[in-house]
Amino acid sequence: MGIFSKIKGAFKKEDKSVLTYEKGLSKTRKGFVDKLANLSKEYSEINDNYFEELEELLINADIGVSTVMDFMDKLQLRVTKENITDPAMLTEIIVDELFIIYVNDQILTNKINYNKDGVTVILFVGVNGVGKTTTIAKLASKFKEEGKKVLLVAADTFRAGAVEQLDAWSKKIGCKLVSDTNTSDPASVVYKGLTKALEDKFDVVLIDTAGRLQNKVNLMKELEKINNVAQKIIPGSPHETFLVVDATTGQNGISQAKAFKEITNLSGIILTKLDGTAKGGIVLAIKQEVDVPVRYIGLGEKQEDLQVFDIEKYIYGLFKDMM
């Protein structure tokens, strides 16, 4: 039984989170799935034109170019080997293979790596404007709902209004914030924040950092320093480092993941703004080429719109209309 039918079976039941996925991804899905469905209708047999259109479809979903090329080679091989002629049958195989690319025989967990001996530190990094601060707010209120004592650290000392933005959120959520408008050194804010977290026994600390383009060496060095400071105060921290990626991001997402992974101990991607028309397919390439899994996805403005990532649900969301 293919994974496709397995997914189909698994989500027959009404599940609130599945519904959010569906709703959030509805714009995304339209277009991609319609086109894939059309493709199987349009072609009565599998030929070169079919493959060319399929390739374009995948490229259009921002799945990385080399990932798509690999994928196409694999698919063509399978078609010849298994003597598949009906495009309708191929749809199932396509979903199957996409799933395999992502999972790659690994056991993927989406549980937060909590520090059993005290404060859990989570660092958020990414390029400018991807939604780091908003994501932190959503996660903070999730943790708070779970009964955790949450501290926010405003280490974006560069962007105008960044501290105020996080401050507004901390008041809304009702959790503490550490900031220092007298310094432009984010590492010193982190120092202050983590020291406070230890003193006042916080459960989870979320550190907001300034957006930085991954090719700016000096800004990346700054991130290294933040990491060092965190490790010094709380050995083994940060326990999670999340790279926040905007779903509209194209091929540059791979470069972002590579560069941030080099400097930090990247443990996951948070894919934001998936409620638009963007498909965020670049996460498949990031997983394949850089081996960083997606941990959460943002499907809307509301707090509950930040969902734990589940590749099966994600693919289900993308392909729902075809099942």
């Binding site: 105008a160 383009l213 000096n218 905007d246 509209t248 991001t249 194209g250 091929q251 638009g276 028309t277």
Partner: protein, 435 residues
């Protein structure tokens, strides 16, 4: 920004260099490379298809067959076709009306607020405008604070009414501009999805009320294939007059630049090239093509230098250099001028052949300059005029004063001595330039 696209196209062209004649067979490899390079640069896949087809047809045309250097002709075809995509002309900004009104719109996080600051700064400097910013992002927490901070940095007035109704804020803001002699108004709007009907209606309402001369879509240059949906989505709701591509100083290949104009007819007007508030350049298609094809962009360097360097000061230093009389005082002034040029690596990238010389990936630590500045600033006037008097105890004092080491001071003095020697040689006409 276009480095690796450049590299791939150079590769593709060099393949053809080996051939005397272009045939369908021997360019198919090169065309495939061009195609992949463009796709990897996030150029829209339809545009890529059209582009490679056009290039292929022209490359196999009669003219190329007659040519003795097919690779050069191929390159020219690429250049012309790229120009076709980017649009041949520099798009002008509509500054009619008093006040002239520019509204910036876009997705969340594309860089609207920062760009409002940059654009106001640029138009004040280049067009002598007296801008007013209107804070109409009433949704994102602290968005108004952000604009106010930028306004303060630039000394540009920000009109705000807190988080009330965006349409009436804009109306009142325009009234305020008229009453206070602001001849330019820049409206910062909230980020929104093009599929969010409610918020798109808000933009339409603002447009109805104040009819901006420019409605500009701010686009993150890192955007992928979704770009076309975004641009069309906004353009369908309210006709765009242009786009601004932000974050072009990243390592994104910015393929959206190649598809935006071609697919939607909406011209690119500016590009954002640094985090600083002077980091906005006019978009120039010809120069962009030069950059993509690796021919460098000297004009941008010259313009940049002209805009920040004090001509009088530069002349007086030049005279001193010619006379072999430059001292550390002048050197300090020079350092300050160079710092104004912004990150030096951005300039180096624009040099012709920068990639081949390995200049595209250089990173220059701005702290190095600050260090030199600190050392010279710790010297007395007398020492700066006559560095020869700086001996051990003075060196120690200077090092302590500037928070550096005696070695650092020695290094600077040595370098300066070298410079002076070279200047003397120039004066005597003995200097043979190494190239």
């Amino acid at each position: 920004m276009f480095e690796s696209l450049t590299e791939k196209i150079e590769n593709a062209v060099s393949k053809i260099r080996g051939y005397g004649v272009i045939t369908e067979e021997n360019i198919s490899g090169a065309l495939r490379q061009v195609r992949l390079a463009l796709l990897e640069a996030d150029v829209n896949y339809k545009v890529v298809k059209e582009f490679t087809n056009n290039v292929k047809q022209k490359a196999l045309g009669e003219e190329v067959k007659k040519s003795l250097k097919p690779a050069d002709v191929f390159l020219k075809i690429l250049k012309d076709e790229l120009l076709n995509l980017l649009g041949n002309d520099k798009a002008e900004l509509n500054l009619s009306g008093n006040p002239s009104i520019i509204m910036l719109i876009g997705l969340q996080g594309s860089g609207k607020t920062t760009t409002v600051g940059k654009l106001g700064n640029l138009l004040r400097k280049k067009n002598g405008k007296n801008p007013l910013f209107i804070a109409a992002d009433v949704y994102r927490p602290a968005a108004i604070e952000q604009l106010k901070t930028i306004g303060k940095q630039l000394n540009i007035k920000v009109y705000e009414q807190g988080q009330s109704d965006a349409v009436s804020i804009v109306e009142n803001g325009i009234k305020y501009a008229k009453e206070n002699n602001h001849d330019l108004v820049l409206i910062d709007t909230a980020g929104r999805l093009h599929v969010d009907n409610e918020l798109m209606q808000e933009l339409k309402n603002i447009k109805e009320k104040v009819n901006p001369g420019e409605i500009i879509l701010v686009i993150d240059a890192m955007i992928g294939q979704d770009a076309i949906n975004v641009i069309n989505g906004f353009n369908d709701a309210l006709p765009l007059t242009g786009t601004i591509l932000t974050k072009m100083d990243g390592d994104t290949k910015g393929g959206v630049a190649l598809s935006a104009k071609h697919l939607t007819g909406v011209p690119i007007k500016f590009i954002g090239v640094s985090e600083k508030l002077d980091g906005l350049d006019y978009f120039n298609p010809q120069r962009m093509v030069s950059r993509i094809l690796g021919n460098g962009d000297i004009m941008s360097i010259i313009e940049k230098a002209e805009s920040v360097i004090d001509e009088k000061e530069a002349m007086s230093v030049a005279k001193k250099i010619q006379a072999g009389k430059m001292d550390l005082e002048d050197f300090l002034a020079q350092l300050k001028q160079i710092k104004k040029l912004g990150p030096l690596e951005n300039l180096l990238k624009l040099l012709p052949g920068a990639r081949k010389m390995g200049l595209n990936n250089i990173s220059i630590d701005p702290k190095q300059f600050s260090k030199l500045e600190a050392i010279i600033s710790s010297m007395t006037k007398k020492e700066r005029k006559n560095p020869d008097i700086i001996k051990a105890s003075r060196k120690q004092r200077i090092a302590t004063g500037s928070g550096s080491s005696v070695q650092d001071v020695n290094k600077l003095l040595n370098q300066f001595e070298q410079m002076q020697k070279m200047m003397k040689m120039m004066k005597n006409g003995n200097l043979k330039l190494p190239f």
